[in-house]
Symmetry: C2
Amino acid sequence: MGDNFSRDAAISDPFETMLGFQLRRTSVAATAALAAELDPIGIRPSEASLLLLIGANPGVTQSEIARALRAQPANLVPLIERLTRANALDRAPARGRAVALSLSADGQALHARVREAFERHEARIARSLPAKRRAEMAAILRQICDDACCANRDTL
Amino acid sequence: MGDNFSRDAAISDPFETMLGFQLRRTSVAATAALAAELDPIGIRPSEASLLLLIGANPGVTQSEIARALRAQPANLVPLIERLTRANALDRAPARGRAVALSLSADGQALHARVREAFERHEARIARSLPAKRRAEMAAILRQICDDACCANRDTL
DNA sequence: TATTGTTATACTCTATAACTATA
DNA sequence: TATAGTTATAGAGTATAACAATA
């Protein structure tokens, strides 16, 4: 550092104004930060999201979760298995083959810790954003997501 | 559809205002849409980004690329190998072990098609965003990314 | 027969450690 | 010895097809 030649800061960045690229890069960095925040709790981002969703919707079933998270049902299986093995979930029979999921006592304790981790994480993400802008930003992201999802549906 | 009961739209969404979650979900959807856009060209998003960067910076080296894209140098190897196998790249010796990469004639043709695909993709992403807001949005995302990256560095 | 859950599998992207090659 | 590149490998997340179980 300190010399004024042979820096590669001179590289031109074709992605500077590309929303798609910035979106992906930012999402990767944010997910890594969340994973680091959750690491001491022994839970991964995908499992933590599942836990938050079940905590907010006691009695929810796997197919409802899949629709809410826009995840493939098949991919929920190992996540639920891990949470079950941590004694975080209660299962109750529901209609058909469905199982109503809710948090056990252990699960609620875990849920509280996960919520705190998410709050710290959100605070760090949002710190460069005026408080008034945050809801607006989230709404824009949802809109972009829906647009992109429609595009993906057209592909099928 | 059409009945007014037993919908699961009643599920409460704890992620509605969480920027981190919306960021990730949107990024996943956008990346899938980009992949679909690039599919007819026979190139994947990561390879396409590499191609755009080399096109914008003829003579760039792998380590410069890695810093610019915030990628691990090791992960560039298979991408460059695929582009090389498609005759898209010219290699010229540079200082030390470094190799200066630039686009071959085939690479420039591919580059043109990839740019068009990215433009269509960006247009779709940005269509729900007033034109004036786009640069601002990209800047906010870069800022959030830098904040999150700092957090990740603290972890090490 | 439609819905729910599950198994198996593959693909993309990212991360790390350990190695080689070059100045 | 520092920098550039490479190999091998592991992990997280996502996607699909095919299957079993239940009403």
